[in-house]
């Protein structure tokens, strides 16, 4: 009897707990105090954002990981910046500039009254110091390469404390855009380190936050490794809103370190997070949209991604040694056959759950400035693919469904990718099915990131599938990929004997970068895209539509297709008046 009673009680308790849980998940949020919605942006409040990892350094001239980039955007400044919404260059610490007749010298007039967060005036000396620090070999700054034109560094001089002349050693098509990467650091804080030859170690993550001074909208208040960074308003920030309100609106930004993306989404849905640094994954769209329907999140379509997943063969002859398959792998026709064999619409549907569009080259419609709609295309046609393969001597002679050459060498390849990325795995599963119809067999081999990159760098693979993150939409920023001698010429590292079409691209890119006329630059780059699409060293299938979810209480969010999606505009973010945490 007692046992039965206990059983009934336990069941009742479980049911009651279940009911409470159900109520909490479905009941509208009527019980909470009404939120007074005010669309006008006001000062005050804080937001909580998140990222996968903390910074490795507080010094932007040294650290290039995303967390250091975010930290710099919050705490530091540049002479000019690229607006991540319009992709136009806009004045920042420099109020205006003049260009010399030869287009090589820019004279920047610094914004008057700007001070560092510790109250020391910002002057042209700081700009000269930053350029000097970047190009000092002991600094080991990764920015040095990006501020070179035709292999030579830019130079800076200062006629007075409020003016800086920056001279380009040769004509530069991207011009001012290059200076988006010229972060200005305080001479009065870092001069000693540069003199001592220890600049590369200066502003490590164990530096006291009070030492990290900047001209950005926020100052670093605290960093707890593996937990969070806290940024407080910089009371000396120079920028004002259109109505004269001193920016930033927010009192504080908290950057939580959340390593797991599933957990990050749950925290965003629960309201513990306001913003993230990345767009939604395709599989996260539905739960985010549900949260939007409940009024907790806002989901914005940012646009098409400026990058697509790349699928490429290792075209380094040494990597294949005596493997006879390289005889057909190296032929552009073979790669064209692959392109014909894939139904890109179906691929977009299966891999990105329909939220993607087909692409035919590395420049996607998401990059509106440089996309060329007339790039050569290989529309889905399995018979055409088989015909092209037959033209290469590849036929299914033994009836096993895989084409082979006359000597019996099958078109069967192992493709490596990064483990744990849902759309990579779905993408390869889809490609495997689609390519099988044309007689090409691929075997996906997901690897952990470190192993995959190591094998890529050592050219120890047959086929790869992954996405490269774009840092700017201008093709000049990716010269290391386009150029056959570039460090990121990933389909053929260390290419000492480029194909004629690669040599042609080298020459065109060189010309494109040295051309000041933007229309002419576009024409030249269209030609580069044409050659690339004809030879297909890399095959692209689809680019996803990007969606971004953030807490509905945050105002002023202008999500960008580039990362960090929302914090690039941190000084303009605010929270609704009664929604303050």
């Amino acid at each position: 009897m007692k046992v039965r009673l206990l059983g009934v009680l336990i069941t009742a308790a479980i049911l009651a707990a279940g009911f409470v849980f159900w109520r909490s998940t479905v009941a509208p949020d009527n019980g909470s105090p009404a939120i007074a919605i005010s669309e006008a942006q006001v000062r005050g409040g804080q937001i909580v954002t998140s990222g996968r990892a903390g910074p490795r350094t507080f010094n932007r001239l040294i650290g290039q990981e995303q967390s250091t980039q975010v930290l710099s955007m919050l705490t530091q400044g540049r002479l000019v910046r690229v607006n991540f919404a319009t992709f136009e260059v806009e004045p920042w610490l420099a109020e205006k500039w003049d260009v010399s007749a030869d287009g090589l010298t820019y004279t920047f007039h610094l914004r008057p009254g700007v001070t560092w967060s510790d109250g020391v005036p910002f002057t042209s000396d700081d700009v000269l110091f930053s350029v000097q620090a970047i190009f000092d070999p002991k600094s080991e700054s990764f920015i040095a390469d990006t501020l070179k034109v035709d292999g030579k560094p830019i130079t800076a001089s200062a006629p007075d404390a409020a003016t800086v002349d920056i001279r380009f050693p040769a004509p530069s098509g991207p011009g001012l855009r290059l200076l988006d990467g010229l972060w200005i650091v305080p001479k009065h804080k870092l001069e000693g380190a540069l003199r001592a030859g220890t600049f590369s170690k200066a502003w490590g993550t164990d530096t006291a936050p009070s030492e990290i001074v900047g001209t950005g909208p926020f100052v670093l208040r605290e960093y707890v490794p593996n937990q969070r960074l806290i940024f407080d308003r910089n009371p000396r920030y120079w920028r004002k809103a259109a109505d004269g309100t001193a920016l930033p609106y927010l009192d504080r930004i908290v950057y939580e370190i959340v390593p797991d993306q599933d957990a990050e989404l749950l925290r965003l849905q629960s309201g513990d997070l306001d913003l993230t640094q990345t767009e939604l994954r395709p599989e996260d769209y539905v739960p985010a949209k549900r949260a939007e329907d409940k009024g907790t999140l806002k989901v914005s379509e940012i646009g098409l991604s400026p990058q697509a997943d790349a699928f490429w063969f290792n075209l380094k002859p040494e990597a294949w040694k005596t493997d006879p398959r390289f005889a057909f792998v190296r032929r552009p026709e073979f790669r064209q056959a692959i392109s014909y064999a894939v139904d890109r619409e179906k691929f977009a549907e299966n891999v990105f759950l329909g939220a993607a569009v087909p692409v035919w080259g590395p420049v996607t419609p998401g990059n509106t400035a440089w996309f060329w709609p007339d790039v050569p295309r290989y529309f889905h046609d399995v018979n055409k693919a088989k015909e092209v393969l037959k033209g290469l001597g590849l036929e299914d002679r033994d009836g096993n469904g895989v084409v082979e050459d006359a000597a019996g060498h099958e078109a069967r390849f192992t493709v490596i990718t990064q483990r744990g990325i849902g759309w990579y795995e779905r993408g390869l599963a889809d490609l495997r099915t689609q390519l099988a119809q044309a007689g090409i067999a691929i075997e996906p081999a997901p690897l952990d990131y470190a192993t995959m990159i190591q094998r890529m760098i050592k050219s120890d693979y047959e086929l790869m599938y992954m996405r490269f993150v774009t840092t700017d939409v201008d093709p000049a920023s990716e010269l290391d990929m386009w150029s056959s001698s570039g460090d990121a010429h990933f389909w053929h590292f260390g290419d000492s004997n480029p194909e004629p079409w690669e040599t042609r691209i080298d020459a065109l890119m060189k010309e494109q970068i040295a051309t000041l006329d933007q229309a002419r630059r576009k024409e030249i780059f269209n030609e580069v895209q044409r050659i690339f699409a004809e030879n297909l060293p890399v095959i692209y299938f689809a680019t996803p539509r990007m969606y971004y979810a953030y807490n509905a209480r945050v105002q002023g969010v202008k999500p960008s297709v580039l990362r960090p999606v929302a914090l690039w505009n941190a000084d303009m973010l605010s929270v609704r008046q009664s929604g303050t945490r």
């Binding site: 046992v3 937990q227 957990a263 470190a450 190591q454």
Partner: protein, 321 residues
């Protein structure tokens, strides 16, 4: 007793040295190294500098030797990911993991052992229900338990959805900070404790079943000892021996192996640090984390021995002899 303790300490030292050296060597020999963290577009000179900084140009044995010599002076090298000395990172993370592990152990002990006594000493619906729940808890991987608890927390708002402290605690005093940690603790502690409690329940149940079938139990019952007295004063104590053996190992495993839970719940502990270090092949951080894991395992083993020493007179006699 002193000899016993000395022996255990020497064993602990050997364990720490072996585990950390193996971790360093295995990380070195595994495909990929820390330079892959620089990304596919890293410049050759940048890769060369990083290899130089982390002794990757030396042979694995030479690298291990150099690291061991420095480790004797408590210099465990630098972390690539955090760009700071490994020692400080590990101390902080180990403290956080210890807090989590102690909480999880307390929950698992307080729930698992009494439930094991119940299921080991009686039959019926209650015991059957407990056994079923135990099996479910044992079957669900910690990753799923963590995500499930996180999901419940996010939907109900009953508990914070991860991390060790909230932003509000930053400016708060010591007591408010402690309270804040206590609010964040239940979620990861439960995720860790549920499978452990189920393990304790199963072991305690089995030990109890074996004990109550021993002749001394029948004799005690014949002498008029009540069933409750017999269970709590005699049978439980005897059944504890096998629990003691496993308990210390559970402590060690908890302290050194909670990485999935820490990763998902963003608890800044040793497990998460180790996971990130392994993913990035951050060689000295891996070795440091492994060394601390070894310390925890040795500590667990020592606790296990001491518990056995206290619970089993045969062990005491063996030691004194």
């Amino acid at each position: 007793m002193a000899r016993f303790l000395l022996r255990r300490l020497l064993f602990a030292l050997l364990l720490v040295v072996t585990v950390s050296s193996s971790a360093l060597l295995l990380t070195r020999l595994a495909p990929g190294d820390v330079t892959t963290e620089l990304g596919p577009r890293a410049r050759p000179e940048e890769i060369a500098r990083t290899r130089e900084r982390f002794d990757l140009n030396r042979s694995p044995v030479a690298q291990l030797g150099g690291w061991a010599l420095r480790a004797v002076r408590f210099d465990f090298g630098d972390s690539f990911l955090y760009n700071r000395p490994v020692g400080g990172l590990i101390r902080r993370a180990a403290g956080n993991t210890a807090v989590l592990a102690v909480a999880a152990l307390a929950i698992a002990t307080l729930a698992g052992i009494p439930l094991g006594i119940v299921t080991g000493s009686r039959r019926g619906a209650l015991a059957g229900t407990i056994r079923t729940v135990s099996l479910v808890c044992l079957s669900i991987p910690p990753l799923l338990t963590s995500l499930l608890l996180l999901f419940i927390a996010s939907r109900t708002g009953w508990l914070p959805t991860g991390g060790m402290t909230s932003v509000e605690a930053v400016d708060a005093g010591w007591s408010a900070w402690m309270l804040d940690v206590a609010r964040h603790l239940p979620l990861p502690a439960l995720a860790l404790a549920l499978p452990l409690a189920a393990t304790f329940e199963r072991l305690q149940s089995q030990a109890m079943t074996e004990t109550i079938h021993q002749p001394f139990v029948v004799a005690a019952l014949a002498r008029g000892v009540t069933w409750r007295q017999l269970l709590l004063d005699h049978a439980w104590r005897v059944s504890l021996r096998s629990m003691c053996a496993i308990y210390g190992l559970a402590i060690g495993a908890l302290l050194s192996g909670s990485f999935v839970v820490e990763y998902v719940t963003a608890w800044p502990g040793l497990g998460r640090l180790m996971y990130e270090a392994l993913r990035a092949r951050d060689i000295y951080l891996v070795a440091g984390c492994a060394a601390m894991g070894g310390v925890f395992l040795a500590f667990g083993s020592l606790v296990s021995d001491l518990l056995l020493f206290a619970a089993d007179p045969r062990v005491r006699e063996g030691q004194t002899a």
